[in-house]
């Protein structure tokens, strides 16, 4: 005898698929914002499920800071091929070359906030009216107030105090010329839900999430990977450590944790026991208490 209720993972999956199908119905030119991280990989997987046996009806948009983990780009290209999808790349380097943005200076410089301009320029250039993201409400306090369908004005800005109320599962995707929407199908998922789902669905993810030997240095309470973009002080030592990454951002700001979790079983068990938030290792969020909100208002992911 069947039980006529869903477990929470199935319910979250059903909700996300519903949201993705609403996007197709309500927008002309939607894209999936693809970072190469686990959340956007899960969104892509959900999109494939939602429209099977059809193809994913969205292009993929990657904002390339140039400061990537090489593994991320390899993974991205493989995934695009697998889904037979179209890839749009917005390059931060181009924005810099065109003088649209200026690189930060100094040891803690990152290209993180530069992405905003590149993203908005790309959205405008391709007349994108809906950008689907893998942001989750549990990630960060300003994201806790985010809608499934999140309106952006014609400057790409988010006005958190003046959001449209969102009731039941009725999503208002109406916009005027020049405006667009950000859509977050996995709003209600937590980090552990994501890992449980990846595990259950056997979703392929970049090797960076699994524990591996890597050259790193200890900075801002986290293991920063050695890369060509990193300015290393004399006082800092490069060490070989077994690490894995909980989130993937730019290689310059994404810190790893020491871990032995080299398979999904171990990762799920490790995440369930975690005592620090996943963005705790992201230098971009540590700049101030409202660092994320400030970037989001301007048009960040």
């Amino acid at each position: 005898m069947n039980k006529y209720y869903l477990n929470y993972i199935d319910e979250l999956e059903s909700e996300a698929i519903f949201v993705l199908r609403e996007v197709v119905a309500k927008f002309q030119n939607p894209v999936i914002l693809f970072s190469g991280g686990k959340d956007s990989i899960v969104v892509s997987h959900l999109a494939q499920k939602a429209f099977y046996p059809g193809k994913i009806p969205f292009s993929f948009l990657h904002v390339d800071t140039g400061h990537n983990f090489p593994e991320t780009i390899e993974f991205r290209d493989r995934l695009i091929k697998k889904y037979d999808a179209r890839l749009i790349v917005g390059a931060v380097q181009e924005s810099i070359d065109q003088g649209r943005v200026f690189e930060e200076k100094g040891r803690n410089a990152t290209r993180n906030s530069l992405q905003i301009t590149t993203l908005l320029d790309t959205i405008e250039a391709h007349a994108i009216d809906s950008a689907i993201g893998g942001a989750r409400r549990d990630e960060e306090k300003s994201r806790a107030k985010e809608r499934f369908f999140s309106h952006r004005d014609d400057f790409g800005q988010w006005d958190p105090k003046n959001q449209r109320p969102e009731l039941w599962n009725l999503f208002n995707g109406k916009y005027s010329q020049g405006e667009h929407f950000r859509v977050f199908p996995i709003s209600n998922w937590t980090e552990l839900d994501i890992w449980n789902y990846i595990h259950r669905e056997k979703i392929e993810i970049p090797s960076l999430y699994f524990a591996h030997q890597r050259e790193v240095l200890w900075r801002n309470n986290t293991w920063i990977p050695k890369s060509d973009f990193l300015i290393i002080d004399e006082s800092e030592d490069i060490e070989m450590k077994k690490v894995r990454f909980r989130t993937l951002g730019d290689i310059t700001i994404t810190g790893g944790i020491e871990s032995d979790a080299d398979n999904l079983d171990k990762i799920v068990a490790e995440v369930a026991m975690m005592r620090e938030t996943e963005r705790g290792n992201r230098a971009d969020d540590k700049r101030s208490e409202t660092a994320m909100e400030d970037r989001k208002r301007q048009g960040y992911f």
């Binding site: 999956e13 199908r21 046996p53 059809g54 193809k55 306090k141 958190p160 208002n172 209600n188 909100e293």
Partner: protein, 418 residues
């Protein structure tokens, strides 16, 4: 691997400004070990900076910059935690600004409303208002938490008095299930852990109650409803004949072989297959997202509804509903709005305002016909095309609508079909 049967429970919290709502949520998160070390450290620092002696649990629910600066909550925030039994989503709604609007939003998807009452003050106007909104939005379960019991010497008499006062207001409303729990969010009594200070209370603490209450019947499993979201027609050789109707089941159970009818056209057919991705299902039920194929090649598109032949919704252009106005601009008499209902979108005009509900007195006002922000009114609407509706009491999904102002694109009203 053991099959995961943990359910998802969504709840909303309602309370006046100083009823300790944020503290309660902070306590639930803290005692259920859902707070991370770095969050805890940030809160500790802020608590110290503000000169507080102990950890201010309420700070866990702080969000936007303006809120942190002004010490208020502006918008609905969503919080998450899980126990070995269930996953929980909290719609944390602010206590004062735009109260009705935010509580209606938070309540629209909730299984449970937690209504906080300050043990010192007992039932106040706000309590009535919150209970009314919870009943209006047909939240299946209400838990009345009588908070700050530490400040009334853990008095059983106080608790019993509040319980009895509450019955006088709730007995007039349509509420299916009410439970009462005496708590102290500040001290932690009866939130996650059983209170040693109130041995007279024989019920379960709040978290235990939330973990065990029966929620499988909160959705309508009787009347099968399938609003079509989109049609999947792969342009590939392999699937050239495929025509699948994608949607999320809004009510009841569908099985392969069921005789169905497509509304509003009225064409009938039979369910050939139900599937999600590569998995074929013999049956599917609310709230599953699936794709359905029919035996006959008939015209079906977004906004249509597939139902069983012998169990149909009402197909009508005239709607009688209770609306809650959510926008600063008042309703314009006889103006046209976009109405969104399931996957259907039409134009509608408000033909008549029958009455307004004074939510402080829970009384009808038939004189004042204006509709302003936070007003709750019974109205008659006419739509340009028929909608396939059920009453909101029967089905929260097929019984609800929103109105959108075409001039501003803003969502201006939430409606529940009578």
């Amino acid at each position: 691997m053991k099959k995961n049967t943990n359910q998802l429970l969504r709840f909303t919290t309602a309370g006046s400004v100083d009823d300790g709502k944020s503290t309660l949520i902070g306590r639930l998160l803290y005692d259920s070990k859902s707070i991370f070390e770095d969050q805890l450290q940030a809160i500790q620092k802020t608590s110290e900076r503000k000169g507080m002696e102990s950890l201010d649990l309420a700070l866990f629910t702080d969000g936007l910059r303006d809120e942190r600066e002004q010490g208020i909550t502006i918008d609905v925030a969503y919080r998450y935690f899980a126990t070995p039994k269930r996953k929980f989503i909290i719609a944390d709604t602010p206590g004062h600004i735009q109260y009705t609007r935010n509580m209606v939003t938070g309540a629209s998807t909730a299984n449970v409303a937690i209504i906080l009452v300050d043990a010192r003050n007992g039932i106040v106007e706000q309590t009535k208002r919150h209970t009314f909104i919870a009943s209006l939005l047909q939240i299946s379960h209400i838990i009345v938490c009588v908070n700050k019991m530490d400040l009334v010497d853990w008095s059983e008499d106080k608790f019993t008095k509040i319980l009895s006062d509450y019955e006088t207001i709730s007995s007039k409303m349509l509420i299916k299930d009410i439970q009462y729990i005496p708590i102290s969010a500040l001290k932690g009594d009866n939130v996650v852990n059983r209170s040693e200070n109130m041995p007279w209370f024989l019920g379960a603490p709040l978290l235990h109650t939330l973990e065990n209450m029966h929620i499988s019947s909160d959705t309508n499993k009787v009347d099968a409803r399938f609003p079509v979201q989109t049609v999947i027609r792969p342009q590939s050789e392999k699937h050239s004949e495929y025509r699948g109707y994608a949607g999320k089941i809004a009510g009841g159970i569908f099985r392969t072989g069921d005789d169905v009818v497509v509304l509003p056209s009225g064409f009938s057919s039979r369910i050939e297959s139900i599937h999600l991705h590569k998995e074929n299902l013999d049956e599917a039920f609310v709230p599953q997202s699936v794709s359905i194929t029919l035996e006959d090649d008939i015209d079906v598109s977004r906004g249509d509804m597939i139902v069983k032949v012998n169990n149909r919704p009402t197909c009508t252009q005239d709607l009688d509903m209770i609306i809650c106005w959510l926008n600063n601009n008042p309703a314009k008499p006889r103006a046209k709005y976009t109405i969104m209902h399931t996957t259907n979108e039409q134009k509608a005009i408000i033909k008549e305002v029958l009455y307004k509900i004074d939510i402080n007195k829970i009384e009808r006002d038939t004189e004042d016909k204006t509709i302003n922000m936070n007003d709750i009114c019974r109205v008659k609407l006419r739509t340009t095309q028929p909608l396939m509706v059920d009453s909101y009491n029967e089905n929260r999904i097929t019984g609800s609508v929103i109105l959108v102002d075409d001039a501003t694109n803003e969502t201006v009203a939430a409606g529940m079909i009578v």
